[in-house]
C-alpha cells in the first residue's frame, strides 16, 4: 500500500488528501471513515498528500522495487536487432551522430 493513513490522527470530514492528490487515488467519501486508497497502482509517490495533511496522518510508503531496484539498466534501453550493429553500440565515443562543437 503506497499511502498509509493513521486513523488516530486523521480528522473527520477533512478531504485535503483526496483533493491534493494529483491523481484519482484517495477517496474521502464518508466523513466517519478514514480515506480509502482505491487505486494503489496509480500512486505517483509525489508526497502531496503527506505534505499537506494538517495533522501528519498520511505517510507515503515506498515499495521494495523503489528502494532496492534490481532492474538492470540495460534492459531499459531496448532490444537490439539481430544482424545489426546495435548490439556493439557504446564501444566508441561520438557514435550518436551529434557533431561536436
Amino acid at each position: 500500500m503506497p499511502i498509509l493513513i493513521n486513523k488516530d490522527l486523521c480528522v473527520k470530514g477533512c478531504t485535503l488528501c483526496d483533493q491534493f492528490c494529483p491523481g484519482d487515488i484517495i477517496y474521502r467519501l464518508d466523513a466517519e471513515k478514514i480515506p480509502e486508497i482505491r487505486y494503489e497502482d496509480e500512486c505517483w509517490y509525489c508526497g502531496s498528500c503527506e505534505q499537506y495533511c494538517p495533522t501528519g496522518a498520511v505517510k507515503i510508503v515506498f515499495p521494495p522495487e523503489m528502494l532496492q531496484s534490481q532492474v538492470p539498466a540495460v534492459s531499459l534501453f531496448g532490444k537490439t536487432e539481430e544482424g545489426t550493429s546495435a548490439s556493439s553500440m557504446g564501444k566508441t565515443k561520438g557514435q550518436t551522430g551529434v557533431p561536436k562543437a
Partner: protein, 552 residues
C-alpha cells in the same frame, strides 16, 4: 500551466471560458502539481545574454536545426513580459535573502537562463488567478474527443471520472493543453506511475487532435532524465545545475568524453552519456556531490523536495545523502521535446499557437513549441488571447449537433458495455513492452517496423477494452491515447533515417546526422491505414546560417 495561462489570456480578452482538468483541485494538477524548483527566464534587464535577441540567435544550434523558428520567436520574445506577469501573480522568483534572482547556467544554454526558486506555491497561485477570473472550472473531468463542424473546432466531449456524468461542451474555439505523454516505457522501479513527469499526463490532447485530422510533428524525438536508481523523479536537475559530477564504476568523471561542456551540456547529451557508459560496461553510474561547498549542499538538500515532496525521505530511507556518491540511471522516456528546449514533440502549431484545424489551438508540452514552465506560460497565454480573438471574429454560433452528441456519447461510453474482455492495465503494459523493447534507444528499421505492427495490432483490441466504472473508463481512454502516441513515435522514428539529438532519436542503422536529407520536420496525419508522413522546412536554412536567427 499552459491551460491556466490560456484561461487567463482568454478571460482578459473578455470571453467566457470553461477549463477541463482531470485533477481534483486545479491548484494541484499537472506537471508542477507538487512544485517546481527552476524556470527558464529572460529578464532583459542589463546583461547582453539575457535578451530575447541573443537567445534567439542560438536556437538553431540548440535544437540541432529542427525547430519552427517563427513559433519559437513568439515564445522567446514573450519571456521577459511573462516573468513580470507571473511575479505580479505572486510567484516568488527572487531569492528572499538577496532580493535578486538566483540564476545558473545549465542544459547547454548560452547563459545563466535558469532561476532557482521555491516553486512549491507556483501552481496554486496561478490556479487561484484562474478561479478568480471567473472561468468555469470542471474538475475530475477528462476531455475525450474534439468536436468539429464543417472543419472547424466547435467543442469537446468529456466525462466526470468519478460520477461518469457526460459533458458535451460547445465552444467557439478550443485550446488543447494537456501536457506531455508519460507511462510510455519501463523504468528502474518497474512501476509505471513512478515517472519523472506527471503520470496523469497521457497524451490526451495529442491523441484527440490526431483522431480529428490535426497535424503532429517531431514525434520521433523522445526525452528522459537522469534519476536516482529506483525513483523516476523530478528535482534532480538542480543537482546538475549546481555543480554535481557524474562518475562511472571506475571512478572516472566521464561527461567530458561526450561533450566539451561536461555536466553543463544539454539534457539529452547528459542522459545519452549515461546510456553510452552503461552500454560500454562502465555502470553503475554515480552522482557525486562530494566536492561541493557546504552552502551549495545545504541549498540542494533544501530544494530536493520542492519538485517532489517525497524525494528527501526516499533518500533517507535508502540511506544515502549528498556527502557520498549515489547510483543513478535514466528514467523511462516521455514524449515531450527530445531533451532540448524550444522544439516540442506534438501538435503542430504556428507562431500564434493555431493548428491546421480552424478554431483549434494548442500550447505547452502537447505541441511543437515546448519550453518547460515558461514555454507553457508564454504560449498558453498567447493561445488564450488568439482563441478569444478567433471566437469573436469567426466562431460558429451553436451549430446543430444533436446527432453528434448522441453518437459521441455512445462512442465515449462503449467500454462500459459488458462484452469487453481487455483490461486497460494489461493493454497499457503491452504498449510499454513494445515501446521499451522495439523503439528504445538503439532504433533499427526492423524493430521499428515491429513496433508499428504490434501497436496497430493492439489497436484492433480497442473495441474489447473493458471499463467497470467511471475511473476505469478514464483508464481505457488514457491507455488508448498512450498507444496512439506510441504509434506516432514509432512511425516518425521509422521515417527519420538518420540520427539526431543523441538518444532522443538514435538509429543504429543510420548512426550519422544527415543534414542534406533530414534537416526538416517530420509531420504526421492520421489516415485509415496508419499515419501519413510529410515534411516541413524549419526556417533554419543551412548549418552555415545557424549563427543568425534566420526566420525566413
Amino acid at each position: 500551466m499552459a491551460g491556466c495561462l490560456a484561461a487567463l489570456g482568454a478571460r482578459e480578452s473578455g470571453v467566457k471560458v470553461a477549463v477541463l482538468d482531470k485533477g481534483g483541485l486545479l491548484e494541484r494538477t499537472g506537471s508542477i502539481a507538487a512544485g517546481v524548483d527552476q524556470i527558464l527566464a529572460v529578464a532583459d534587464d542589463g546583461e547582453e545574454w539575457d535578451t530575447p535577441d541573443y537567445l534567439l540567435q542560438q536556437i538553431p544550434n540548440l535544437t540541432d536545426g529542427i525547430v519552427d523558428l517563427k513559433s519559437v520567436e513568439t515564445f522567446v520574445r514573450g519571456l521577459p513580459g511573462m516573468l513580470r506577469k507571473l511575479e505580479k501573480l505572486g510567484v516568488p522568483f527572487r531569492d528572499p535573502a538577496t532580493g535578486k534572482y538566483f540564476r545558473h547556467r545549465t542544459f547547454g544554454l548560452p547563459g545563466a537562463y535558469h532561476i532557482d526558486f521555491d516553486g512549491s506555491k507556483f501552481k496554486p497561485k496561478i490556479a487561484r488567478a484562474v478561479v478568480d477570473s471567473a472561468a468555469q472550472v470542471f474538475l475530475r473531468t477528462m476531455a475525450v474527443n474534439l468536436i468539429t463542424h464543417q472543419g472547424q473546432a466547435v467543442g469537446a466531449s468529456a466525462f466526470q471520472i468519478r460520477t461518469g456524468a457526460f459533458l458535451f461542451l460547445r465552444a467557439r474555439a478550443v485550446i488543447l493543453a494537456t501536457g506531455d505523454t508519460n507511462r510510455l516505457s519501463r523504468n528502474s522501479s518497474g512501476i509505471p506511475f513512478d515517472s519523472w513527469h506527471c503520470p496523469y499526463n497521457t497524451g490526451d490532447a495529442q491523441a484527440m487532435a490526431a483522431r480529428r485530422g490535426a497535424l503532429l510533428a517531431n514525434m520521433e524525438f523522445t526525452e528522459n532524465t537522469i534519476t536516482p536508481k529506483g525513483i523516476s523523479s523530478q528535482g534532480t536537475n538542480a543537482l546538475t545545475g549546481l555543480g554535481a559530477h557524474y562518475i562511472n564504476a571506475k571512478g572516472e568523471r566521464f561527461m567530458f568524453k561526450y561533450d566539451p561542456a561536461g555536466e553543463r551540456a544539454r539534457r539529452d547529451l547528459l542522459t545519452s552519456a549515461i546510456i553510452s557508459e552503461t552500454l560500454a560496461g562502465n555502470a553503475p553510474i554515480y552522482c557525486d556531490c562530494r566536492h561541493l561547498p557546504a552552502d551549495i549542499l545545504s541549498r540542494l538538500e533544501e530544494t530536493l523536495g520542492v519538485d517532489r515532496p517525497s524525494l528527501p525521505r526516499w533518500f533517507k530511507e535508502k540511506g544515502i545523502d549528498l556527502t557520498e556518491p549515489f547510483e543513478v540511471t535514466v528514467s523511462e522516456f516521455s514524449s515531450r521535446r527530445g531533451g532540448v528546449y524550444f522544439r516540442g514533440s506534438g501538435i503542430l502549431v504556428d507562431a500564434n499557437t493555431g493548428t491546421n484545424i480552424a478554431g483549434l489551438y494548442a500550447a505547452g508540452d502537447c505541441c511543437t513549441v515546448s519550453g518547460g514552465i515558461s514555454g507553457a506560460a508564454v504560449m498558453g497565454y498567447e493561445a488564450g488571447r488568439e482563441a478569444a480573438r478567433f471566437a469573436r471574429q469567426n466562431g460558429v454560433e451553436k451549430p446543430a449537433l444533436d446527432r453528434e452528441l448522441e453518437m459521441e456519447k455512445a462512442r465515449l461510453f462503449a467500454p462500459c458495455a459488458a462484452s469487453g474482455r481487455v483490461s486497460p492495465r494489461a493493454y497499457e503494459d503491452r504498449v510499454r513492452e513494445v515501446v521499451t523493447d522495439y523503439i528504445g534507444y538503439r532504433r533499427t528499421e526492423g524493430n521499428l517496423r515491429k513496433a508499428v505492427e504490434e501497436l496497430r495490432r493492439l489497436q484492433a483490441e480497442d473495441d474489447d477494452l473493458r471499463a467497470t466504472d467511471a475511473h476505469e473508463l478514464m483508464r481505457v481512454h488514457e491507455a488508448k491515447n498512450i498507444r496512439e502516441v506510441a504509434e506516432m513515435i514509432a512511425t516518425a522514428a521509422l521515417e527519420r533515417r538518420e540520427s539526431r539529438g543523441s538518444y532522443a532519436h538514435f538509429r543504429a542503422d543510420f548512426p550519422n546526422r544527415d543534414d542534406d536529407n533530414w534537416r526538416k520536420m517530420i509531420v504526421l496525419k492520421k489516415g485509415d491505414g496508419g499515419y501519413e508522413v510529410s515534411y516541413r522546412a524549419t526556417g533554419a536554412k543551412s548549418p552555415a546560417s545557424e549563427n543568425h536567427a534566420d526566420t525566413d
